[in-house]
């Protein structure tokens, strides 16, 4: 008889594990490397390779605009892509809490398959563990990924130069607010979806417009403010933003007001920051606006030699103040 819940035995390595892998995973994620079901995926490499990993523990596991599976693919794809890499292969590991509905797992796997297809990546290896009730929260996912970087690119958080323009690919804080609005105890309903999306297509278009992009990062946890502070420190430059030019959805701004948050510190999962020579900004911006994941792109500031390692923001009243890193806030798990 088919089981309806995940049991400890599904992670034991025996028949149930085998069934789970062949019935749900291989069928949905099928590709020649995965289908071999060897202990490791074997493939040829050449040139510069990017390699990254991330674990996903978001709660709730389903949220408007996505779920933990889609997030696990997009997050790793984006980490590779912002380094200029063309993402290619991903690993996929589940840690599942005993008792999870198998239909829930199925939905998550379908999302993983859809996101991988959109991003043009293959899931080539993986693992499944099941832990006792209470030892995990429904499901945790780890993905690692590799991608290949064209020779001519040199993108890094330490490459920002005074005079560069700072661009974001859309509205800030959508993902974090979509998650918080869903949380138990926060009973407000707003029409904001997570922006969770694979950005490699957008990035390919940007690099076509300007291969000399100095820095790209996806502002996930800690939001725009924290990511820019990291870049300012890595590159030993100042970054000066213009508050009025930073795109924020009115609903996100309103929810942030109600919760005492600043959207510039709220997580994104489908947005990027690009820092590049100012003369290329118009061309890159129009390429970004032409892509579905970049329609709200905007130039939000510039890199300065003044105030190294500091991010500052020009307020609508005309004052210039520090935009600090996020510190010590009690936020829910958002990615």
């Amino acid at each position: 008889m088919d089981k309806t819940k995940i049991l400890l035995a599904h992670g034991s390595g025996g028949r149930l594990t085998h069934d789970l892998i062949s019935k749900y995973l291989v069928q949905s994620l099928s590709n020649p490397l995965l289908n071999k079901l060897d202990d490791a995926a074997v493939f040829k490499t050449g040139g510069n390779m990017a390699f990254t990993t991330d674990s996903y523990v978001v709660s709730p596991i389903f949220f408007p605009g996505g779920n933990i599976g889609k997030l696990a693919v997009c997050g790793t794809v984006n980490d590779l892509s912002v380094m200029g890499a063309v993402p290619k292969y991903l690993s996929l590991s589940f840690i599942i809490e005993e008792g999870l509905d198998i239909t829930v797992l199925e939905k998550i796997i379908q999302s993983i398959a859809a996101a991988a297809k959109e991003a043009g990546v293959e899931i080539v290896t993986g693992d499944t563990k099941v832990v006792n009730i209470g030892k995990a929260d429904k499901i945790f996912i780890n993905t690692a990924g590799v991608g290949f970087i064209p020779e001519e690119l040199d993108i890094s958080g330490s490459n920002a130069q005074p005079g560069d323009a700072v661009i974001v690919s859309g509205t800030m804080g959508d993902h974090g607010i979509a998650i918080m609005a869903q949380r138990e105890g926060l009973n407000f309903k707003i029409a904001v979806e997570s922006d969770c999306a694979p950005l490699n297509g957008l990035i390919a278009d940007m690099l076509k417009a300007c291969p000399r992009i100095h820095v790209m990062r996806d502002p996930t946890r800690g939001g725009l403010a924290t990511t820019l502070n990291e870049i300012a420190a890595q590159s030993q430059v100042g970054i000066e933003l213009d508050e009025e030019s930073i795109p924020v959805k009115p609903a996100v701004g309103g929810a942030c007001d109600a919760l005492g948050l600043d959207p510039l510190y709220v997580a994104n999962e489908g947005k990027l920051i690009a820092i590049l020579p100012e003369e290329f900004a118009p061309k890159v911006l129009s390429a970004m606006k032409a892509h579905p994941y970049g329609v709200d792109s905007a130039v939000i500031g510039r890199v300065t030699a003044k105030n190294p390692s500091r991010v500052s923001i020009r307020t609508p009243l005309g004052a210039l103040r520090i935009l600090d890193m996020q510190s010590g806030e009690l936020l829910p798990r958002i990615c």
């Binding site: 105890g185 926060l186 009025e244 701004g253 309103g254 007001d257 005492g260 600043d262 003044k306 105030n307 500091r310 500052s312 307020t315 609508p316 009243l317 005309g318 004052a319 210039l320 103040r321 520090i322 600090d324 510190s327 010590g328 806030e329 009690l330």
Partner: protein, 364 residues
């Protein structure tokens, strides 16, 4: 009308700033009572746009910051009882008491939970009938009505495992205490916005009447605050102190009568222990005798192993009164940071030290 954008219009803001800079000739020192105002003033960058002879000082309006160490020690003692679940708003968990914070006690195994409303605490009580759930009620007139409502709901639903540790404080008495002490020479007060929506603006009439000081009730958008500063400047320049309200969309002269009624039904006015100020008569809210069954202080024996002590060097108590600023504190940003706070003024998102830390850095 858009209730946010209308009050953030940058052109109107610049016009108000121009007026303030032209009109203000006399040195003036204004206190913003409320921590929310301190943060907003920093966020909009208002301080640096005012004439240099106008000084803005932060006041005691941060509920976490004014909670005394002695009261926190009692909460920590309660959290160590095995049958107890402590529920509280998030900020309080990180405030160090004499020895530990609630977060540290939680790491040692105490059941301490963050809730966003008292209704969540009631739900936890319902789901854990074998446990005793204590809600730590901190805050001013803004949060007190919701705690009162939870007590009434607990009574109506026959919940016998829900308790409130009432550390609530009311704001006009502390304003008077600061003005009576006269340690800070003030020219005007920006009165609290959310508190006034409950108490009514009439609660502040004593400021111009008894102390001849300028005052205005403000909201939290840039134009609310700038309008208030403009009003204070006008009052100072014309020597005509009065009560002005720039937040009439939320504040009525008589306040929120339904909220005041439910507070009156549940709470008596009692003395309260304010950090840095001490025990002030008639400045706190305790449960009325008929609600004694829900009063944590009356139903638990609170044993303190050692007397309470303040952290040496921490100036929170002085900063709350406006007699010192965070920059005068030797611990500020060196020993005491948001990641490793020594005093509550660095913990709370509305705390003066946290606001200085996040927004007050110097730029070249």
């Amino acid at each position: 009308m858009n209730f946010i954008e209308e009050f953030r219009n940058s052109q109107s803001g610049r016009t108000l700033l121009e007026y303030i800079n032209k009109r203000s000739t006399k040195p003036a020192r204004f206190m913003e009572f409320c921590g929310g105002h301190t943060v907003a003033i920093f966020r909009y960058g208002i301080r640096q746009l005012l004439p240099p002879h106008i000084e803005m000082l932060s006041g005691p309006g941060c509920p976490v910051c004014v909670t005394s160490t002695a009261d926190l020690d009692k909460v920590i003692a309660l959290s160590r009882l095995t049958e107890v679940i402590i529920c509280s708003f998030g900020d309080l968990l990180r405030v160090p008491s004499s020895r530990q914070s609630l977060l540290e006690v939680r790491a040692e195994g105490a059941d301490v939970r963050i809730v966003y409303s008292t209704m969540d605490a009631l739900e936890i009580a319902r789901q854990n009938p074998a446990k005793k759930v204590i809600f730590v009620g901190i805050g001013f007139e803004t949060t007190a009505p919701t705690i009162a409502a939870s007590v009434i709901q607990a009574r109506n639903q026959g919940l016998d495992n829900y308790y409130v540790m009432s550390l609530h404080k009311i704001t006009p008495p502390v304003m008077r205490a600061i003005l009576d002490a006269g340690e800070t020479r003030l020219s005007g007060i920006i009165c609290p916005g959310h508190v006034s929506s409950i108490t009514g603006s009439n609660a502040w009439e004593f400021i111009p009447k008894d102390y001849h000081l300028a005052c205005a009730v403000s909201g939290f958008e840039s134009l609310d605050i700038l309008y208030c500063v403009k009003s204070l400047v006008d009052q100072v320049e014309d020597k005509t102190p009065r009560l002005d309200v720039s937040y009439s969309r939320a504040v009525k002269p008589e306040g929120n009568l339904a909220a005041l009624k439910i507070m009156d039904e549940v709470f008596d006015i009692c003395p309260a222990n304010w950090r840095g100020i001490g025990i002030l008569p008639e400045s706190g809210l305790c449960l009325k005798p008929e609600f004694a069954a829900f009063d944590a202080e009356k139903n638990f024996e609170i044993k303190l192993s050692e007397p309470s002590r303040e952290t040496p060097g921490c100036l929170c108590g002085e900063i709350i009164k406006g007699t010192r600023t965070p920059l005068e504190c030797k611990l500020f940003s060196k020993v005491c940071t948001p990641e490793n706070p020594v005093g509550p003024c660095m913990v709370s998102s509305e705390g003066t030290c946290a606001a200085y830390y996040h927004y007050g850095g110097k730029l070249g």
